[in-house]
Symmetry: C2
Subunit: 263 residues, 2 copies
């Protein structure tokens, strides 16, 4: 099954200097994967107009079906996502009336006026559609460009989640809904290199499935096996692959212990 492709871009120096762990990228990657996208890259880039717009020009040439960009939509001098996208798309930034109204309402409720810094959050590349933010100030947007869907969300995690789940996922679900099926189980009393040849064998029987072993974290111990697939037959083939793996693992090492993972 050939999946549509996606890239995730997270803008913000804090992601590159060790201040902030990029949990946004993981969350967005999971949601896009569940929908049926192959997430090809998650890239963290700096708040630098030249470097960041060069990045996007390259990314546009790769023509992923979807690009989701988080971060850099706020009121500070280094919140430059829209400048970056405008430069990369070669499109001017325009004050968006809908965004301006949303910002006015947002700050009025807090008894605050629209300063220059707050008003900046209403600037969007010409042609963008606003995605409203029901958690914070800065709206996101949707830009269609040469067959790609580009989505902008803030970097503050609850605001990113709000716009992703309430606006972006519904737009994408109308285009792609591949029905991911996945399962994970844990193996104790073994090491990854003992399992490796058997995983490779079963993978050749099920080339369309994703089958991967991960050393579990120290507290949990052992190895986690993750199997997933897309489409109506995925549940059946994932379960079959699991059974075949278990038979081979037990034959390799009868003392291996299989444990269910409760999430």
């Amino acid at each position: 099954m050939i999946l549509p492709t996606a890239e995730i871009v997270c803008l913000g120096n804090e992601l590159l200097i060790g201040v902030t762990v990029n949990t946004n990228g993981t969350f967005m990657g999971e949601k896009l994967t569940q929908l049926g996208y192959e997430v090809r890259r998650i890239t963290c880039i700096r708040d630098d107009l030249e470097l960041a717009s060069a990045f996007f020009k390259e990314a546009f040439l790769r023509k992923p079906d979807v690009i989701v960009v988080s971060g850099g939509l706020g009121p500070t001098y280094d919140d430059i996502q829209m400048e970056v996208l405008g430069a990369a798309l070669a499109v001017p930034l325009i004050e968006n009336n809908q965004a301006l109204q949303q910002l006015e309402t947002y700050y009025e409720r807090r008894n605050l006026g629209l300063t220059k810094e707050r008003r900046k959050m209403a600037l969007f590349p010409e042609g963008a559609t606003i995605l409203s933010n029901s958690v914070g100030g800065a709206p996101g947007c949707h830009i269609e460009h040469e067959g790609m869907d580009i989505f902008s969300v803030p970097g503050v995690p609850p605001e990113m989640k709000d716009i992703l789940l309430n606006h972006i996922i519904p737009i994408l679900r109308a285009k792609v809904d591949n029905n991911l099926y996945e399962l994970k189980f844990q193996l104790l009393n073994c090491i990854e290199s003992e399992l490796a040849p058997h995983i490779q064998t079963v993978k050749t029987y099920y080339p369309d499935l994703y089958i991967k072993s991960h050393p579990a974290n120290k507290a949990k111990g052992g190895i986690v096996i993750h199997i997933s697939g897309y489409g109506e037959t995925a549940e059946k083939s994932v379960s079959k692959a699991r059974k075949e793996l278990q038979v081979l693992f037990k034959k390799e090492k009868p003392s291996i212990e299989i444990k269910e993972i409760k999430e």
Copy 2:
């Protein structure tokens, strides 16, 4: 001050599909930043020979001084970092004697022999220098290519940290040691857009400093201000910038509360 540049690359589908949060990227970003590198990108890419080697060919053209690559050094069929680097560098993979001995010793201690899968971890691009792993099986390596230093580390966090801290950082410290000085403090009873114009003002006085506001996480509340700089005068100018910011913030809103951050 013009800093040498670095890129971090994290290989592994698990980073793109929502299974694993990329804490490795954050850790490596912090260590390289502290040493005095400008980390320009952290990119997560898939275990796909074609996509990943295309990524590295592009990255080599950007000529960062340093590239650190984590993940894909293990024994499983999809651990392909060396194949990827070999393809991107157009250099054959060669069984490295030093690596082979380290692997033999590692598995002998566990009463295990060198299977084909374990032996694979001794294959390195021709010309690579081995970096031994004192925590797990797979050694890392150092490749010098067209003026760039390329370092390979495993994706398992304790093994990545072992090789990074014991081998890579010492190699780089001999080249670059810019003496980062940084401080953070917290502001309560304010929002980011109230601070934005004052941060911009002080930033113009200290163009070489990094000054950034971050909304603190919900449990902590408020805004965190992060100021840092490099070189012998950094401590003095960071402290002065902090004082000037505090004066402006207090003038803007006398009820702002300043709190130290204990880490």
